[in-house]
């Protein structure tokens, strides 16, 4: 395996990670499941590409620098998500999930029919601008921002919404607002991921942003563990690399991929890191919880033995 190949996988994992981190906020911390985030990725990808593509290859292209594309792609996805949220965030549970599914597919079908972007034939000529250092930089910024957000008052409000929506409202939390914040941030993350994706593939096709992609993102979040940022990071790395590692199995590789995901979910039902964090504070917390659990078990055992003696 040469470095170029490994670097490619790392870049894809890093790009997925950006989108997964956003989805982690929405699903893992706020409790809203989405099957349409590939739609936000697509919006980011197409807007980003529109900014950077040279006017000589695509008449609509603006030929602007890459970072303009990144910002525009993220903002574009965020703005669209705001309007989608206005309509759908009042839907409860599964209904929101289905609405996002519809949204993701609608974006794909719309792009299939927009001829200036090549429609379903695809759009070649996106400049190759995504570099590994740039992706890692964005990943780090994304993780730091998210880690600070979930530890803030706003993050705790989102967790309260996830835990018990009605009770959160009773204590005075504006549930709609916090769902909206989580949705918009997750869409901005997905949009930025889309821009990097476009400038890595150098070719865009609506098919890339199908339901399969949305599902993949949600699977990574659940696999990594709901409510854990480190889980999302590990999940993105492992699940992006896994199909590549399994290439030796050729046509069977997706079967093994599915089997591996099932096995891990059975052995760790809360995902790799459900609710825990790989940080000094997180490790302390996990240790304290483990200690408390063992103590409770010991006390329970003693109590049971006592009962047996008494009987």
């Amino acid at each position: 395996m040469d470095w170029f190949y490994i670097q490619g996988i790392l870049m894809l994992a890093g790009i997925n990670l950006i989108a997964v981190l956003g989805l982690s906020l929405l699903t893992g911390f706020t409790g809203l499941f989405s099957f349409g985030h590939a739609g936000f990725m697509a919006i980011g990808a197409y807007i980003g590409a529109l900014m950077t593509v040279s006017p000589t290859t695509t008449p609509a292209g603006l030929g602007l620098p890459f970072f303009v594309g990144v910002i525009a792609g993220g903002l574009g996805a965020g703005i669209v998500s705001y309007f989608i949220g206005r309509i759908t965030l009042n839907l409860k549970g599964d209904y929101f999930c289905i609405a996002t599914l519809g949204f993701g597919e609608a974006i794909r079908l719309i792009l299939n029919n927009v001829q200036i972007f090549g429609g379903s034939r695809g759009w070649p000529g996106v400049p190759y601008k995504s570099t590994l250092p740039a992706i890692i930089l964005v990943d780090v910024v994304a993780v730091l921002f998210l880690a600070n957000l979930v530890r803030s008052r706003h993050g705790r409000n989102m967790v309260a919404v996830r835990e018990e929506e009605l009770a959160a409202q009773i204590t005075g939390i504006n549930v709609f607002k916090y769902k909206m914040i989580a949705l918009v941030i997750s869409a901005v993350y997905a949009g930025v991921a889309g821009v990097f994706f476009a400038h890595y593939m150098t070719f865009l096709q609506p098919k890339m942003f199908s339901l399969t992609k949305s599902t993949e993102l949600t699977i990574i979040v659940i696999f990594g563990g709901l409510g854990s940022i480190s889980g999302s990071v590990l999940g993105a790395l492992i699940l992006t690399a896994l199909p590549e590692v399994l290439r030796a199995f050729e046509i069977w590789r997706l079967v093994f991929y599915g089997a591996a995901v099932i096995l891990i979910m059975i052995s760790r039902p809360k995902g790799l890191m459900g609710g825990m964090e790989l940080s000094p504070g997180g490790i302390r917390k996990a240790r304290a919880e483990r200690k408390a659990r063992l103590e409770a078990q010991r006390e329970m055992k003693q109590a049971q033995e006592g009962e047996i003696r008494n009987a």
Binding site: N157, E163, L166, Q169, I170, T171, G172, I173, N174
Partner: protein, 237 residues
């Protein structure tokens, strides 16, 4: 304090409240009794802003009541929901602190926390325990404590005795009396009509979305129709 006029609320095509009017005055305990499905919880949930009325007027302290749950809390109405709904994965203390979420007067919040602990010594003992592991009665106390932490003047209570052992039911009603002693006004929805009428100043009888009777509790409790429908035929003695 709270004034409701001609309130209509629907779930889809089903009309749950058909022109309910009622009043709660400061310092009172008012109870709403009625059978399952009469619309008692619907009424409380509408006051709290979870449900939008089709028409009707809701006024609190002379002003039109906001129609969003968080703004209702801000205006000084707190809700002890049916089925308690505590944050199961948080500690007792964190649950109580969340009640004070909208408040900025941290010194008074600490005082109120002490008051809540004085009212519910059991919660003080279990301060650091995860709320989901509390017993049903303790969770009910926690939900009440959380509501008190919002510092609202009007407390809405939805079936506080639901699913509790008879001994605990008595404790819960004792506590409701003490909460009134703290200067709160209480609007109580209960299936346990006997207990509710015993503690309340006034009562409304809700039947299929309409108020069919209202008056001082002492009068409602001896009403033959009410006795037949909600209290069984057994005598009060």
């Amino acid at each position: 304090m709270l004034e409701i006029k001609d309130l209509h609320v629907s779930y889809g095509g089903i009309r749950a409240l058909k022109g309910v009017s009622l009043q709660v005055k400061e310092g009172e305990i008012v109870t709403i009794i009625g059978a399952n499905g009469a619309g008692k919880s619907t009424l409380l949930n509408t006051i709290s802003g979870f449900l939008k009325p089709v028409r009707g007027e809701l006024r609190y302290k002379g002003k039109a009541l906001a129609r969003r749950p968080d703004l209702v809390v801000k205006s000084g109405i707190c809700h002890v929901p049916e089925g308690r709904l505590v944050f199961a994965n948080l500690t007792v203390r964190d649950n109580l602190n969340l009640g004070a979420y909208l408040r900025r007067d941290s010194a008074r919040c600490r005082e109120d926390l002490e008051k809540v602990f004085a009212l519910f010594p059991r919660l003080k003992e279990r301060e650091g325990q995860i709320a989901g592991t509390l017993s049903g009665g303790e969770q009910q106390m926690l939900a009440m404590g959380r509501a008190l932490m919002t510092d609202g003047d009007l407390v809405l209570m939805d079936e506080p005795s639901l699913g509790l052992a008879p001994l605990l039911v008595r404790t819960v009603f004792d506590i409701i009396g003490k909460i009134r002693g703290m200067g709160k006004t209480i609007l109580l929805v209960e299936q346990n009509a006997f207990k509710a009428l015993a503690i309340a100043d006034r009562a409304y009888v809700l039947e299929q979305g309409k108020i069919v009777k209202e008056g001082p509790s002492a009068q409602i409790v001896v009403d033959p129709a009410v006795r037949a429908a909600y209290l069984g035929s057994k005598s009060l003695a």
